[in-house]
């Protein structure tokens, strides 16, 4: 595929690296091909199953919110290739600093459904121990996590580690000062960090053109980062670019940036109504670039047994859905004492007093209720 550049159409979707076209045909892509030479039919099938699983995870998340089991859910629909392609390129020791939408990356980390849903249910401020899975907790403050990734990577560099950091953020986030500052820090210390921007074209109701007049990836070049702009709905391209970026940052010569051009097919969150601000035609256009369909079509052209694959996918996604439902029905509500836990790492007299007073207050209530029976 020839790479063209036309800055007059920043929202254009042609000017990126692509390996698998939407119809499933594979073209030569000299920049990326050698990073995925090892990829066989079996691997492609696994990527397909992964994407099917996180799509199901997403459908279930939305359904659980509708049923009142979750307070909120941020759909990843449409971004399966971006999350699986990058998530599957990571080594265990690499550390992830995500936003709030990376359920697919969390899935790649093997994060338990319990832990994934806890925050969305409103049962705890976060779900998992970052050190157990090498992934920080979800970040809601837009862009803040990118600086944490830069700092973590500075530490990796100072320690002489071969691991890398990767941080996920959206197109909207690129407007935050924190994200620019993170690139400055990372570049200044040649820190081993990959900035992974999922340009899903929307920041709630604002199109990406509100955040940038050019390509997001070009901004990163200005900071001196090694940069890839890829078709974010092409799991092979994303996998290849992330492998390339990780290899680059591990050389210690500087950070890298990937702009994965994709599309948020769902609402921003379950609290959002996208019909207020975007065109149904745009959705249709992107539905034709579905990340799963193209892998299926490609596997078909390679002579894989599609029927068997879809059966496997069905089984895996059903298991996943059952796990999620089980997680929700068995998740205990938080204890009142959790209010005061972990605010500080060692006892705090003022807070301890509030905790005790409130416990007495609740106990007094219970006694009064008992007495008036």
């Amino acid at each position: 595929m020839s790479i063209t550049f036309d800055s007059s159409t920043p929202e254009g979707t042609e000017d990126y690296l692509q390996v698998l076209a939407p119809d499933g045909t594979r073209h030569p892509c000299p920049e990326l091909d050698h990073w995925v030479e090892d990829l066989g039919i079996q691997d492609l099938e696994n990527l397909y199953i992964d994407m099917a699983c996180i799509r199901r995870l997403d459908t279930e998340g939305t359904a659980l919110q509708r049923q009142g089991e979750l307070g909120l859910w941020a759909p990843l629909l449409g971004q399966e290739a971006a999350q699986i392609g990058s998530g599957r390129a990571l080594e265990h020791d690499d550390f992830i600093f995500p936003s709030y939408r990376e359920h697919g990356v969390a899935y790649c980390r093997g994060i338990d459904p319990h832990d994934l849903l806890r925050m969305w249910r409103g049962a705890a401020p976060s779900g998992w121990n970052p050190y157990e899975v090498n992934m920080a907790n979800q970040q809601i403050v837009i862009g803040a996590q990118t600086l944490h990734a830069a700092g973590y990577a500075m530490g990796l560099k100072f320690d002489g580690s071969n691991a890398a950091a990767i941080t996920y953020f959206g197109d909207g986030a690129t407007s935050q000062g924190d994200v620019s500052e993170a690139m400055v820090f990372a570049a200044s210390y040649q820190a081993p960090v990959v900035f992974f921007c999922q340009n899903n074209h929307w920041a709630i109701s604002e199109p990406v053109t509100r955040q940038t007049a050019g390509y997001i990836a070009d901004r990163a070049k200005g900071f001196g980062l090694a940069t890839w702009r890829v078709d974010g709905n092409d799991v092979i391209a994303v996998l290849a670019a992330t492998r390339a970026a990780l290899a680059h940052v591990r050389t210690g010569t500087g950070p890298a940036f990937i702009e994965a051009v994709t599309y948020r097919m769902g609402a921003h969150t379950t609290a959002d109504d996208p019909t207020r601000y975007r065109d149904a035609l745009e959705l249709e256009e992107w539905a034709a670039k579905d990340p799963l369909d193209r892998v299926a079509a490609h596997l078909d052209s390679l002579g894989a047994d599609l029927e068997a694959l879809k059966e496997r996918a069905q089984q895996a996604t059903d298991d996943m859905a059952a796990g999620l439902r089980e997680a929700i029905t068995t998740m205990p509500d938080p204890e009142v004492d959790d209010l005061f836990a972990h605010v500080y790492s060692h006892p705090h007299p003022w807070l301890e007093e509030q905790r005790e007073n409130y416990a007495n207050y609740l106990a007094g209530f219970a006694e009064n209720a008992e007495a008036s029976k």
């Binding site: 049962a123 837009i142 909207g172 935050q176 604002e206 938080p334 207050y361 007094g364």
Partner: protein, 335 residues
């Protein structure tokens, strides 16, 4: 008189201010086509255009900094911060720039910027969506901080804040957005009334001070206390900075007892300032030390625990019991 929800009152007030003064511009994330995540700016971009209702890039420091620049140029920007927890990226622009420009320019540069912030909890949101940041701003010289508690005040106070030549932090109690009330849009407020407290309910035994989201809870508590023979005077503070100490002191001198409630934590909160200042001013009239009923000094908890954190009717009544030296107060002498 019209019956409007709190959010419709804000929307109408913005519309009227924009019609009245062509220099009034709105800025914020998703305030255009979407009308804001709470729909406070619904329909305004359609009617006033993209240069008066400005969907900004996703950067709060940028929004406030650019609003300062527009104000320098003679505009009167009204900024929407999407949620309380997202004002912090703009903290430097608010505290070091917006608050101090008039002083630094020796009065030559006025920055009539209004920063609207949906604040407080009670809507079951994830973290960073339920904060009560008023004390940070009240502590900063050069900023005025107000919070309406009902649709009429939402309408009137917003218009007054926009018309004010000083920067105003305008805190909107988001869990009250849906309440309805009578709104007189022709009401001409007295000059300076934006910074005056209101006696929301008269009473003789105790002064209960609240603002924003908790005024309704305070009024409910007063009704409940009345059934037990305690006559509570409820004061809607309205302005957190400056505080209308004339109204507050007059009430406390009359009742001799004061309970202050807010959602924010107790330590170095607005209640601490009110308690200290009222003690200084009314010491000889007090029958009991001021009592504070507040959120705990913790990060805002997850949704399933927020009802424990937020002062409710029972906790306010417990504070009232303490101030009245009644029964055995459940929360202990120091709450």
């Amino acid at each position: 008189m019209k019956t409007l929800t709190f959010s419709q009152a804000l929307n109408t007030s913005l519309r009227d201010s924009m019609e009245h003064d062509a220099k009034v511009v709105l800025m914020g994330e998703d305030i255009g086509k979407l009308g804001g995540v709470f729909r406070i700016t619904d329909g305004l971009q359609k009617d006033f255009g993209e240069h008066r209702v400005i969907d900004t890039p996703l950067a709060e420091s940028g929004i406030v900094g650019a609003a300062i620049g527009l104000a320098f140029r003679g505009y009167r920007p009204v900024v929407e911060i999407q949620f309380d927890g997202f004002v912090y990226p703009a903290f430097d622009q608010i505290v070091s720039q917006l608050a101090k420009m008039h002083f630094r320019s020796r009065g030559n540069v006025k920055l009539p910027v209004t920063i609207r912030i949906p604040f407080g909890g009670g809507i079951g949101s994830p973290e960073h969506h339920s904060e009560s940041p008023e004390a940070y701003f009240a502590h900063t010289a050069g900023l005025r901080v107000v919070s309406p508690s009902n649709p009429q005040d939402a309408y009137t106070m917003l218009a007054q804040a926009i018309a004010d030549d000083d920067p105003v932090i305008f805190l909107e109690p988001k869990r009250r957005y849906h309440v309805r009330g009578e709104v007189d849009t022709d009401l001409v407020p007295e000059p300076g009334s934006l910074y005056r407290a209101k006696v929301a309910r008269e009473g003789a035994d105790l002064t209960l001070i609240a603002y924003g989201p908790l005024v309704k809870t305070a009024l409910d508590a007063a009704d409940a206390a009345a059934e037990e023979g305690i006559d509570i005077e409820v004061i809607d503070l309205r302005s957190i900075e400056p505080v209308d100490f004339a109204t507050l002191s007059a009430s406390v001198r009359k009742t001799g007892r004061v309970v202050i409630t807010h959602e924010a934590g107790k330590f170095a909160g607005v209640g601490a300032e009110l308690a200290a200042s009222l003690t200084e001013r009314c010491f000889d009239h007090l029958d009991h030390a001021p009592v504070r009923v507040t959120g705990f000094d913790i990060p805002y908890p997850p949704a399933k625990l927020e009802n424990h954190h937020l002062p409710d009717l029972d906790r306010i009544l417990d504070g009232v019991d303490r101030a009245m030296r009644r029964n055995a107060p459940l929360l202990g002498e120091d709450g």
